[in-house]
Symmetry: C2
Subunit: 110 residues, 2 copies
Amino acid sequence: MTQHKADLLQGTLDMLILKALSLGALHGYGVIQRIRQMSDEMLSIEQGSLYPALYRIEQKGWVTSKWETNETGRRAKFYTLTKAGRRQLEAEEASWDRLVLAVTKMRQAT
Amino acid sequence: MTQHKADLLQGTLDMLILKALSLGALHGYGVIQRIRQMSDEMLSIEQGSLYPALYRIEQKGWVTSKWETNETGRRAKFYTLTKAGRRQLEAEEASWDRLVLAVTKMRQAT
DNA sequence: ATAGTATGCCTACCGGTTCTAGGCATACAC
DNA sequence: GTGTATGCCTAGAACCGGTAGGCATACTAT
């Protein structure tokens, strides 16, 4: 039982992945690194969470994937955000904002 | 498929319940109402979520319960926050803050 | 009176999501 | 040539919240 980083809340992973991809197409492994970097090392996604999530997300039409060769000459599966994905991201961000607002109100209530 | 309120993210319910009880002992049904009121009607907890959660929370020693009679003369099970519960609430609030901060950074990242 | 609504508690099951823990392959550095 | 980083994947466990039911009592309106 070691000290562990703040675990994600269930339901936030999709938003984070879509957000990472909103900065440009990327392969799976890179998504993990980009999320870590974008969050100032505060968030680290496990591979075992990421790949199934990417699969789900592609099934829902929010991203498309294509095997390509990256800059270091390795094969990797690149994911690109679709229009529907962008809309989904906006919806999830709005939903996130609503929840944060609600919790803030809870905090301030007497 | 009507417009539905923001669903909770999994992992936040305990914090909300503990927060509601931090304003004073209360019975289960009242917790639902107090959360709704504290959040300006933004959050509504289902009974089927609440009662199992209260049981879990009591097992963990964060609250104690006692059957009493409320002001309208009905029997109800009153829950009181323990010291451990208060500590847990603080921990969960801190964890929430960390996550909100991390997501905020994600949002701002370019 | 009695039907409906609000209060109050509970349980069984479903569905979704993340993590743990493995496996496999290639490239690069020491 | 052994270890580490990159890159992909799957199976199963664990957890959590919601849905949908059931039950009982009190008050309210017809």
